[in-house]
Symmetry: D4
């Protein structure tokens, strides 16, 4: 039931062509999804500032180019994750303005500039192997208008490197900590800060790491109470979740 037809009904009631009881009966079967749709539109308006997002894994280069191109016409920022270099090149051939982060495997098109929201998001990982996940988180978070600080050489087997950044870590509004293998880094970091720590297990490792399961279990069992976990290698999701923290709905940005 469109607003038009609803108005038509109400007008009919006003004009006596329909009784209130008849109107009630019709409204009782009114497909609320149309109202719902209106709400959703309003909701989306509130959300302005979020880029359109594409999960590129499993899509052909042609499909990716097509989707990117169509979305670009909307004028919004667009972010695609898990993009291969070849796919990125294919999109750029159509849309020369796109930017590709090879390490993060992220491709984006910035069509809107938005001010950074207050607070800093720290992104922490141990070494070069976790970089693709950490950078997926970092680049996504930056595109989502967060200020990002990177701490990338701080594994638990050499605590001094981590402790050297203790003060900076403690000042972050939220932290994303990526770790593979035994996944202990988020717990150790969480013991050094008061802010929420979003743990991202990575699939880095071999043998009994089971593609990141060991790290995932380690993080779920963290003895630190300010740790929550997202899926293996889900740097993108961690950045979105962190944004939902920094952009607290109940506080004006």
């Amino acid at each position: 039931m469109s607003p038009e037809s609803l108005l038509e009904l109400l007008t009919a009631i006003q004009q006596g062509a329909t009784t209130p009881r008849e109107g009630l009966a019709r409204l009782a079967h009114m497909p609320y999804e149309d109202l719902e749709f209106a709400k959703i539109d309003h909701h989306r308006a509130l959300r302005t500032g979020l880029p359109e997002m594409i999960y590129a894994a499993g899509k052909t280069e042609e499909q990716l180019v097509e989707i990117f191109d169509r979305m670009a016409k909307g004028g919004e920022n667009i972010l695609a994750t898990r993009v291969s270099p070849a796919a990125a090149a294919a999109v750029r051939a159509r849309l020369p303005a796109v930017t590709y982060h090879a390490v993060a495997r992220v491709l984006f098109l910035r069509q809107q500039e938005r001010p950074l929201r207050p607070g800093t998001l720290a992104i922490v990982c141990a070494g070069t192997s976790d970089l693709p996940v950490a950078e997926e988180a970092a680049v996504t978070a930056e595109l989502l208008a967060n200020k990002v600080a990177r701490f990338y050489d701080v594994g638990v087997a050499g605590l001094h490197r981590l402790l050297a950044h203790r003060a900076e870590l403690a000042e972050a509004s939220a932290l994303i900590v990526c770790a593979g293998m035994e996944g202990a880094l988020p717990t150790v970091v969480a013991g050094l800060v008061r802010a929420p720590v979003i743990a991202v297990p990575t699939s880095v490792g071999y043998g009994a790491s089971f593609g990141g399961v060991a790290a995932l279990l380690g993080m779920l069992n963290s003895c630190a109470p300010n740790v929550a976990v997202v899926n293996i290698d889900n740097g993108f999701g961690a950045a979105c979740f962190a944004t939902s923290i920094l952009a607290r709905a109940d506080r004006p940005e």
Copy 2:
């Protein structure tokens, strides 16, 4: 927004106290959940014939008695599954009219008689160990107004017993086949019939049966195309699913 307040609004429009446009604005923010609730009530009316259902596992005897008693006042049939003998006795002390199936661990109160719907639901299992699950399915299905035929001594390691009932099985409108251990029975049965076979893995077994996982996997990998699976030991769910087949929504009962 209750029907009363909605009627009030429409009457205000009729009487000119509110314009249609004002009414539209209020309705646009109308909590559809109230309309929804009305629909649900209507929906439930359509469903008449279904008993109220209680999953008793993890509830104290006191809680079960309380819930049963409250529901009983609604005048509907009530079915509780996974009921211990002690809990059943406690409910009966309050509501002497309840019936308890010790093997099925099902307790019910029949306050409404309804005619059986057409078609037969065959319930098949191999032996005595699977009986609690098979009977949970059978008793639930009977209370849901289905005609039930039981085939309870027909394991795959002695095919002749199963084959002896081939004709009867082939006449069933749907079949629930319960099996533990290797869980092969649904596949073999499905090869003998055209009707849908609902496979119920049971937790019967030990060692590498892993509490029914071996049977569950066997059924999910069935090479017969007319098999679908429910959760381990979920006789109740199988009966409900079978009822949704026998009571095809698109055909008048």
Copy 3:
């Protein structure tokens, strides 16, 4: 023992060449599998309308061409699933009349036209990643003479899209709901309809989706009672199972 030889035996008894007791002795050792075979033939006759089916995964192009060609001579409809584009091309080179659904990876040859049976099968999925599985189900179901309605953009993270189709979903005779990742869609859909919902977990996802296991477990644990589950990515099986529901053996088609 063929019908001919059995008739011969009975005639010999009639003519006194064999005594009834001798006949009994011979029949007692009669290989029932021949009788069985006869029954099977009769059974197959009843089944007319089903296409021949081929699971192409793991077969070479040569094998597939050969099987398709041999089956085609039988004059029946033929359906092959999990067919690569190259294999499809190879079959088409031999049998130009075949049709290939690239998304569904389904190849078929329609040699018989059959009327659609009554009732509608709704096929529901969240997004483009689940399309190969959903289309395997849809194309198979259509070839199996069912009327199919597709609902393909209705994920649970944006409920309004699903709710917009609520009325149509409620009218379906059975529903196939495909979902990867967390696999919540079948449960939510099942709460909106009375008909049986066949849940198909897909291997869409990464990390802790474990190739569809997360979705599979979610569906097996559905809190909705009208859900049953088939194997991961088994769109074909879901279509067959749905057909067994729509073509209820106990009702004339």
Copy 4:
């Protein structure tokens, strides 16, 4: 090296009894852990407002009484989780001022009143089985000085109940969503709000729920980007993590 001995060293340098270079050498080997300890004390002072916390599972009644009693002397609020009724009674016999939440299995002693921090924490679950976990989260969060709003009858198989609370949910600063079985509730809730959703899988279920693993996997694979997950049944941890969000370190409380 205690502050006293450090002061002694510095005084010796001031007085010329030790040269700066000698002091440097001694300080280079100074056990920083003592300095560290001082920092920690200061850190704890900053944290004032947090109760002392005890995980009671696996502790004898005697141990629990002893720990509670000793902590009580510190004058702080004390919170113990997973406390059996018998253990709670034992503590109360010693400390009559303690309060016991039987459903949440939480025992606490409030010795300090603190003002609630701004923002509301919504706690959502589907039904009575998840209540122990949801209440563990709620009671913990309240003791941690958060305003809590409970939404406890809103399972995904009956969407209208959830949708009825949509506006209230959307106003929460953070949400804790507990669910067992298929664990779909956090995803559906996350689609309705912008705030961070902390998903808590519960061990409610049977068979293929594997003690909460099915729900855990479902939540980790959520298709909603504002979901993070804690351990199975970890209501306490969810409340602590939510507090770390509401009490953003970078904003004055």
Copy 5:
């Protein structure tokens, strides 16, 4: 169709009361399961020497007494496994002639004496923890008329004890080797003999033994080619399988 009614039919043909074609039609629908049943009976006669078998786990004492009593009337040997001492006492109260092996948890009633078949079955295990499984195998095998030789103190961490029995092991016709923990014993034994080794993983162990799964996997991956495996703790099944080897169907006993 019983032999009597079949004879009746054939006689009717002989007497001209039924034509051969009519007979053919009736026979085509003749429930072969009755013929089947006859064969089965004959089959069972061939099997004489096997006791009746009962898996007592999950049966109440009353059920066990009832089943035992009923079977006893058949005059056959009866063997029940996984019998608790209390259940054994309950059966003995009814049937004083039964014998109970407390370690093997086996209860049996010997009503038939049969000569031992040729060949020796060696039963091997490492220590006292595996004894219940090893004895279940040994007692079952003895009741199944096999000559059994026990080797019970021969773990792989002290090879000399195993090697001391090398000659005797090499003479066995088949070997059952029970092992928990790492389950290496069957492989080592298999390297010393030419006969088939039936490996029985036991649930002995803790932690990463996962109730026998570690031993099971070890045995399935044995690098010795004369090893096959049965379910965890399945001493009974191993004895039956060994009997099927010693009583080779193709050789007269």
Copy 6:
């Protein structure tokens, strides 16, 4: 200590050059492994008839050619499993007398003819997908001097095909039954015969077949007592185990 040096020692004792006590001391430290080695050689002589065996997976073509060539010089039969066509061609280039079974992926060189031992080994599988494993078993068994009977089109979803071979199956001395997916075939076959059934799970399937784990678990949980199991896809091992049954060590061949 070689036999020569041992003889030397004994001769020295005989001749008085060494006292018995000195000899005892030397023998007490005698490396028994040399004696052992002698025994082993003798043992191997007893085993004559077994081919040399090579597991080719993970070996380069060069390595395989080298090993084959070296072994060939010993004059024995040689059997290599898991051989790719390319590797087979490489070996044949060096040793033109080798035979390659493409389906079984088995390459062998027959340099010795040996009479078949008595008894028949039945090899059973459901369809074309299981053929590589079944043929690996069959070809290996034939090379190990067993008479093999193949039954290759007998899946449990169409029982009549299996039952048609019932008599032949019952006459086999041992049976190897290969099955993927739900792995029910060995159980059903075992219910039809008295001989030992060696179950071989195959990795045929997809989704929840988990590369053969579903079939493996089904077979380990078989309700038939004459079933034992080998590793997934281990047709070779099944043939060796069957040979250890047919060539019962305690009976002269």
Copy 7:
């Protein structure tokens, strides 16, 4: 063949009653296990200092008393692990000299005093829940004549407590580090020392700790290269392994 009979044989050769060749033949079949046994005895003599060890789990009180009593007669130290208080009391009733560590669940009888070997074994754990495992390790190690230093309040979520003991940890010859939940402690400790770290996962935790599996995986994937792992809760094994390090076979004690 006992030394006596071997001497007899050699004497017969010396005396000409047996020829060297005949002696060779007899020796070639000499059961080396007797020689072996002699070596073992000698080996055990070398090992003097090790107590006899009993794994009490799964043994009845009667069995434990019996074994303890029998071993005590040998005059050696005796150590039993996993002993319940009741079982300990039962043994003490027979052998009043035994000592019981209630936390470690270890019961021992010291009949021999031995000097401590050089070097210190550090035993590290995070908190009270891990104490049973840590103390099982500590008490076992002490009985095995090692000097033990305990560090029991040093979890990774509060690094300062661990760092406070850094110097002492660095001086240990070997370290046993017990941890449940996420199991990160061994990795962090290993980053602070050069000595070997033996990681013991404990079953402390709930939910996704899976009875210690999360900790086990974390330790196996440790990014520190001086970590090796024993079974879950295996404090006893860790102590034995550490002893094998401290008592290096190649260095005189």
Copy 8:
């Protein structure tokens, strides 16, 4: 705080420009990580003799060349594991002095010669498939200045080959035992020696070996008390751990 600035502070105190209390306050907030860094440097000096190590898996050839080249300038030995032949060739093109072990997949540059430490490290495996892991351990250990003895043809299914090396094994100071499939070799070896046995599961196997999990579980459940385990295929880690044993920190090298 650098040593320079610390010296400056102390000098200010000496000169009276700063009071000792002011100095104390500044030092209390002194970032210990700088002191820490100094210690670390000292620590590293103590460790001299260790090569720099690179885990090459997942690094591009370019990255590997770059890292190798940069490290080489430090003058230390450099060891890279999991290096493909192509990557090795790429490094050699830049640094012709590197050595590549093709089987071990290890690439190293020896720039420092160091004397072997006392004691022998035995490296044991069953066959050619485990060689890459065993050689990774051996080559690493040699570069870490250990004397290595290899025992590479000693599988448990042919004990005589293992027993032939018993004396040599017993003399080793530590043993690394690599095994795939059932992983029994470490247990059997550990029963023959007193020294610590480091078990390395390898991913050799198929089917239910699950990429080394079967071997891993077998080793964790070893019934020998002198066994500890590292990750699957972690030959490198085993060598490092063994080095930590042979280079006991508490004993001068």
